[in-house]
């Protein structure tokens, strides 16, 4: 293990992976309980357009992905309220439009197909220095904002009307959750890729929610599952020479399955 940790690429992957895992799990618990679990999947499609745009314009794709995803999530929230659409319909509209736009950008810049693959399937072991620090910084921002607004977010998620009656600016907080989701999806993309990023948000949180008796425990369990999945997935990836994105997500799935079986057994007693 010491020999492994001596590698710079592994240190960078661990550093970025752990911070991003914590951010994904924290946000995931709130999103699942708000019945917004699919927003991660929808945002991932939009991220594809952002990445393709960055590659087309020769700008750091992480920046264009961030900009496009944040603008889209604001659009989803606005259109949901103004047009009276259900949340999943608004997500479907933006995710399909985003993906279509991504295909057009890819078609316009035929030469960057290889680069695009690393974003589609993720490649945390190839993460560069600048991307590590940007990822850690953004993950810390997401974690800090969630911790700072923890009680308000819990109240709003549990009982939105009473939260509003208590003077909490629910609409503003809704927007904040949307923007945090956009940032987290872009971060998660670096770990497991666009195609699997929603799993980083949903699986650890879904696993934590299986066994938690209270909300604080749900948060802590989800964070633990997320971090263990990243660590375990990276180790498996190195030992078995498999893609890290697949091993990380599969590790999270195995833990979810384990927690689900424990819950089933506990409920039968």
């Amino acid at each position: 293990m010491e020999a492994f940790l001596g590698y710079g690429f592994l240190q960078r992957a661990l550093l970025a992976g752990i911070f991003i895992a914590v951010a994904c799990a924290l946000l995931g618990v709130f999103l699942i309980l708000r019945r917004d679990a699919m927003i991660g999947h929808g945002m991932a499609h939009v991220t594809f357009a952002g990445i393709a745009l960055g590659l087309l314009l020769s700008v750091v794709p992480l920046y264009t992905a961030l900009a496009v995803t944040v603008v889209s999530v604001v659009g989803i929230i606005k259109i949901k309220k103004k047009a009276g659409l259900y949340g999943d319909t608004a997500i479907a509209i933006f995710s399909s439009a985003g993906f279509a736009l991504g295909i057009l950008f890819v078609s316009l810049g035929r030469s960057f197909n290889v680069d695009l693959f690393s974003y589609l399937f993720g490649d945390i072991l190839a993460i560069g220095n600048e991307e590590v620090w940007l990822s850690v910084f953004l993950a810390l921002v997401v974690i800090f904002v969630i911790v700072l607004n923890y009680k308000k977010l819990l109240f709003m998620t549990f009982d939105s009307e009473s939260a509003k009656a208590a003077g909490i600016k629910v609409n503003r907080l809704d927007m904040l959750v949307g923007i945090l989701t956009a940032v987290t999806v872009v971060l998660g993309m670096k770990v497991v890729g666009i195609l699997l990023v929603s799993a980083m948000i949903v699986l650890p949180a879904a696993a934590g929610l299986q066994l938690a008796g209270n909300f604080k425990r749900a948060i802590l369990l989800s964070v633990a599952v997320s971090v263990v999945s990243v660590l375990g997935g990276l180790v498996c990836s190195l030992c078995l020479d498999l893609p890290a994105s697949g091993t990380i997500v599969f590790a999270a799935f195995i833990i979810f399955l384990l927690f689900f079986l424990i819950k089933l057994r506990r409920d039968r007693k």
Partner: protein
């Protein structure tokens, strides 16, 4: 200020409020005051605008016309949310999979309390214990709320609403889906909060019989304000008789 003046202090003033959902009138030119010490039942048939009125007072809906003053301040400039407690309609429809304990639910109510950050955890815990004691749920504080009965969940929501010791407590159809025996105990508990803790209580209900024992004021709505005054006078009034005879879906049963 003498005690009578203190007792009759206006806490909420609703002035000429009207509200429409599309072309349908829900409230038409409603004006009423709520005073210190009131245990007010807002009654009326289904669709009479009871819930809409409470939501307008709490700032959850904006009236098409008229205005609301809370503790002397217009709704737009009001910020002392810790002085209001609210138990919404269907509060007992809790998602059974939501992993939240009784203590965590009551703690949500402390968000409104500006002092809570400075006062720290200890004071918050004291307030939660006090609120749970009032509703006789102290022993259940670590239980998951989804595992409790409807009546117990209702008491937890009351505890959340009173944890800041509010001046006014609003309850919207609080006993829907709760059995008759639990309802009686529930109204007795509200009576204690009104008398012992000096909490003004505003209760939305279509069950005028069940509140006979405790309320001292009645506001009867049917888009317009039909009656607003003493409970005893209301029971003798034409408004009461005509509502019952008119076949409105009000439940009446004497104790």
């Amino acid at each position: 200020m003498d005690s009578t003046a203190q007792k009759n202090k206006i806490l909420i003033r609703v002035e000429d409020v009207s509200f429409h959902y599309g072309h349908q009138t829900v409230l038409s030119h409603v004006s009423l005051d709520m005073h210190t010490g009131d245990f007010l039942a807002v009654i009326g048939p289904n669709g009479s605008g009871k819930t809409t009125l409470i939501k307008i007072i709490l700032g959850l809906l904006e009236p098409d016309q008229g205005r609301v003053k809370i503790l002397g301040r217009s709704l737009g400039g009001f910020s002392e949310w810790s002085k209001l407690g609210y138990v919404p309609q269907n509060a007992t429809h809790v998602d059974p999979f939501f992993p939240v304990s009784v203590k965590e639910v009551v703690d949500m109510g402390l968000i409104k309390e500006a002092r809570s950050k400075q006062a720290g955890k200890e004071k918050g815990m004291e307030a939660i214990s006090w609120a749970l004691k009032q509703v006789d749920m102290e022993d259940q504080q670590n239980h998951r709320i989804g595992n409790l009965s409807g009546g117990q969940q209702q008491r937890v929501f009351i505890a959340r609403a009173i944890v800041n010791k509010p001046v006014i407590l609003f309850l919207d159809e609080p006993t829907t889906g709760v059995d008759a025996e639990t309802q009686d105990r529930f109204y007795e508990m509200l009576g204690v909060l009104n008398k012992k803790e000096k909490m003004t209580i505003v209760l939305v209900t279509h069950d005028i019989g069940i509140v006979n024992k405790h309320v001292n004021r009645v506001a009867c709505l049917n888009q317009k304000l039909i009656y607003h005054g003493d409970h005893d006078e209301f029971c003798r009034s034409e408004a009461f008789k005509s509502m019952l005879e008119g076949g409105h879906h009000l439940v009446s049963h004497r104790h």
